[in-house]
Symmetry: C2
Subunit: 187 residues, 2 copies
Amino acid sequence: MDDGEARTRVLDAAEELFYGRGIQTVGMDAVRGASGVALRRLYQLFPSKGALVEAYLLRRDARWRAGLAAYVDAVDAPPRERVLAVFDWLRDWFEEPGFRGCAFINSFGELGATSPEVAGAARRHKEEFFRYVTRLVAAAGAPDSAGRQVALLAEGAMTTAALTGSSAPAREARDAAAALLDAAVRR
Amino acid sequence: MDDGEARTRVLDAAEELFYGRGIQTVGMDAVRGASGVALRRLYQLFPSKGALVEAYLLRRDARWRAGLAAYVDAVDAPPRERVLAVFDWLRDWFEEPGFRGCAFINSFGELGATSPEVAGAARRHKEEFFRYVTRLVAAAGAPDSAGRQVALLAEGAMTTAALTGSSAPAREARDAAAALLDAAVRR
DNA sequence: ACAGCGTGAGAACGATCGTTCTCACGCGCT
DNA sequence: AGCGCGTGAGAACGATCGTTCTCACGCTGT
């Protein structure tokens, strides 16, 4: 097993464990067990648990936003529908087994106060997400303020879906976003 | 110092520490130091750290919702303005020094996967909040669906304010809620 | 074939945490 | 006054965690 494969195996295990059980709850030994990569090698790939956490967040950010962008890109419809497609993607995500809310909100709640790296990663992730939503909303002819409002709805849907274990917030947020868009464009 | 005062001193210290730094980051020794209550007595007031965490969440839930309700009750205005007052109260909260987001979302992200008690406390808190918002929205003549949408906006504002360290999301969510209310009532 | 470097498995180390125990002290009751 | 229960301060204990070390093993180059 070369370094590249070891790295992805470690990151895959770390992502499943950190996301599923929380970061502090998961020891490096659990990552070793789930990845099959020896502790010694694990530490030469990632010099500390903090570095592994950072890598986990970084890769998840890239994957998550790429997944959303790919989904929206595949929607061949007017800009308004492309904005709403964000909430369809969220619904699919909420219904995935093992869904436990937004990894960045969770890790920020857990470590944001004590780890500037985690706080920064979460902030950057949300900034990018807000920027992306605002761009979609702008294409639908609504101002930036509407973009931020739509993003707030998405944010609320994520945490509420996590707390209640239901995907219904995706639909409710989608309806609200549609109403906001129509109100903002009609003006 | 009688038991009642010791209890509130412990709970005050626990709230400040758990909310400010996260639950797992704070040891019982830190609670002892901040409260001035000896470890032995601390454990006879709360038989375990889990029990103290539960008590912390329970008291914070009651205080938080009572504070919101008192603020809204003091607003002598039409029902629509009373709904929007929720977001004014949120703005004030966001601007308090030490604001670090919703304690229940944070603790759910940290321990929701491993502690049914924490998960349940967070779920109940949000349920009550949603019920309260829905009641305010109903008084303004909008359906329950609009109530849940407004609550999603509040939820999103909380997490976004925490992540960005800004109170602007309160205003943006307020504007969005106003638009949603007007659209829902006009129909 | 053989010396040597890197590897894997896991023990070991130091720190920390939740929880309990020790022990000397102060207060209330008779 | 003297006895005893409960208290406070902190040491102690067992577990766990992040990280490093040990050591035997297998592959590589000549």
